[in-house]
Symmetry: D2
Subunit: 280 residues, 4 copies
């Protein structure tokens, strides 16, 4: 926490937030320009300003200058697929215990949103191995990660995972694919003993199919849940939820690879730690 971080510098990633919350993420460099619908901002006028400053475009429109948070990066990521949302990513990371120094595998890469989150939290000592079978998606993800300076923490694999993953003993493995049930033996081979598997699926039918596959492959402590995020209008004297909300992104499924003494792991029910469990 030194004085050096108080002001913007050449090379910093910056978030500009205008009226009605139109946002721009740019890497500051001398001579650069940001074209907005409300006028031009010159990088030279932004470099050396304290973070949090209000700046004006040449048309006089107001913008605020911030260091982007992980959520800012994710919500502004150039994408051409559905991406994981911060509400789901936060819970996935905490539940699967993904943190500094860890080695994690992900498939598919998609636009690279979850890859961004993973490479952010594993830090410089950790590593992310990500698989994608569509070349154009991989290219977008590489571009997105490179722009954020995170590409050196990620190994990008192009191709199908039906032949298995190149890694073993991963701390955690996450599948963001429509048919994770088809790859559970490959997952088991790549995960370290006791390691965490996770997935997100939009439909209940997909969840049912994945549960069948997990039960057959010595995964236990299976959890299924969903995260609902509800915003409020931040007005002190008229506090109330917003009128509308996102009702669904996907169901989250978590499981741990286990090594039973013999035979199948009969009846290891999900914990549902935060909910009491009444009989049906």
């Amino acid at each position: 926490m030194g004085a050096n971080i108080k002001k913007t510098q050449d090379g910093d990633l910056a978030l500009l937030v205008g009226r009605s919350h139109k946002t721009f993420i740019v890497r500051l460099s001398p001579g650069g320009k940001i074209q907005t619908h409300r006028g031009v901002l010159n990088h030279d006028e932004l470099i050396g300003r304290p973070w949090g400053s209000q700046v004006l475009s040449h048309q006089g429109s107001s913008f605020f200058l911030f260091q982007p948070s992980l959520a800012d990066l994710l919500l502004n990521l150039p994408r051409n697929t559905q991406i994981l949302y911060p509400k789901d990513i936060g819970f996935i990371l905490v539940t699967m215990g993904i943190g500094p120094g860890m080695h994690v595998i992900e498939a598919g890469t998609g636009s690279g949103a979850f890859t961004t989150a993973l490479s952010h939290v594993v830090g410089q000592q950790g590593h992310v191995y990500t698989y994608e079978n569509r070349l154009e998606m991989q290219r977008l993800a590489i571009k997105n990660l490179s722009r954020l300076g995170l590409e050196n923490r990620v190994t990008f694999h192009l191709g199908d995972i039906s032949q298995g993953f190149d890694q073993q003993d991963a701390d955690a493995l996450f599948l963001d694919l429509p048919n994770p049930e088809d790859y559970i033996s490959q997952v088991r081979a790549a995960l370290k003993p006791g390691g965490f598997f996770g997935s997100i699926l939009p439909t209940t039918n997909q969840v049912s199919r994945l549960l069948v596959a997990l039960g057959r492959q010595d995964f236990a402590f299976i959890e299924v849940c969903e995260i609902l995020l509800r915003y409020y209008k931040a007005t002190s004297d008229r506090l109330r939820p917003t009128d509308r909300m996102i009702a669904h992104t996907g169901y989250l499924i978590f499981a741990r690879s286990v090594h039973p003494i013999q035979g199948p792991v009969e009846e290891i029910a999900p914990p549902n730690i935060q909910a009491d469990s009444e009989p049906d």
Copy 2:
């Protein structure tokens, strides 16, 4: 991802999960014993076993052996206060962009659950400064962090924050106190320009009071939200939500310290990025 992590070692932190999900977190050491309601487990029989193994107590009861995730650590933390839940912690970390290398301030420490999460994610290069005015709570938190080997990433302050924080230019600052509205000028002095403030409050009245205080102190982009976590019974052919769930932990409030050109920041509405905003 080396072979060394596949098996338990002397000194490892281990999670044991028994039938009906009774859990124990222990640090393995030769000669140690774990007393459970279903018999004794000797550390010597656990050390050197692959993670994920099924082990038996002297009474023959089954337990599984795992490396604890952050969520495991939080949910098993010895506590004598209400703690933050993983669902809220995950979203707070992603929204406030807290990751490896960051310097963050927190008050109050409480039982140390959020301190544990923060020190986990900032890694060895980051640091957490935590404030608490009840000696017995601080002692419990220090004990909890030390048990997890995270105490060297944390500076524990004892005392009231009304006189201000000892740090400046923190990347992020979180207040888990009943009256955060009383400390907003102190928060502003300790946060770096553009830095993220966050808080969690159980009642709507507290949220209203905090919103008033934030508006007076050049905080903008204020968001209020809540996270609902709903578990499902993980049964493929009878998939359904659990009967009951936790309906409320707290409202989350986020804001960014800003430096307007002059005068108050009029009308910077909350973004509510994930919800469209209709008129009332």
Copy 3:
């Protein structure tokens, strides 16, 4: 359940539902015409058709012909105010026990949506007394109720309720106003002993003010709740919630007028019958 109700008749209220669920509610009469964006439908071709029939406009567009349900009527009501939604109306009616033969008071009338629901369920033996102080709103409500043939079950009052209601001993009384806390003594005078009071309010601040007022006027068994309605995509092999939902309409408040033996009713907590109550 006779054959007479199987087919449409002159004078019947009919619901027409086209592609993409564009709906029309009309009263069938010989010679009538329905102008739609997809062509004209002649009443003469609809009269005498079985309910549930598929009919075609002169342009060949498909419509289905139904008897409108209460929800259909409410969702198609011409309105110039926010109206109560079926999800809230259903719970209000069941909670307050409003049914055939009852006499209920409502303020304000607004567009007449809740008036419609009330007059529907009290039947021919019951009656609804509704108050509104805006002439143009009252006119719209009278027009809406008359169109549905329900106007003879309703007495429309024009004017302020601060001078009290003209009725006494009402079975139930509902306030759909921004400031119900200002009229609680008037409510008490109009309700029968032990009668049910209800209200709906969009903000938490309004709820807090109403709770203060109710506590001062011998109302007890006060309940505050909200109803969330979540739709699913009705596809058998891709079952999932819709992407978005209405996040908030209003908080519902219910209370019962009581006659304590003496002094204030101290500490009659809300029942929250469907939720267990842990300490804060």
Copy 4:
């Protein structure tokens, strides 16, 4: 609304609510006694008292005396099965348009909770036909309805519905059975043209099976939804949701019997009137 309803009378159904919301529903009769865990209440001391009165047991414990609402009746119904909850019942009645004078069919009867609600709202001019194949359940339901004086509005059928219903042209038909998909042709034969079908099912798998069956039998405008009820602690200066809530009772499914001109009704998507519909 006459003075006659202000005071309790011999033969009235009464609700007594004690401290901590222990409730009793009794029919008042001279000489009767109510045994509570906090002393005895004599009917003779209750008859002639104003509704809403506070009364004392012989031990001095306080009770309040009310006319029970429909929700009170439902929540206090002697039962030995899972019953429909008021939150679901209210929405079902409004959506299916069930009101005074209607003729409705229900299977299975169960403990009679929904039968109670139906017979309450159809009034003296309407009628309910209910089917149950377990004799002991039917007996309980008959006892429950008789106690409330509603038995003359209900025809109780004992037996399986696989042979079809005895009625035709019902305004609405509701199945509260585990396998409604097995009876859709019987439903269609009993419903009037264009009539409303409804069901409630706990699991997603059951919903999927029902959707397949409905699509095959000329039902359209199919809706699937769920109702979540969240209670708040009714404290003006510490307003907040309760800690826990019921997370799931069942999924509600509604559909309308249609008569397409020819061939299957292709692509009549669910309306989801209250939610906007984005592409997957």
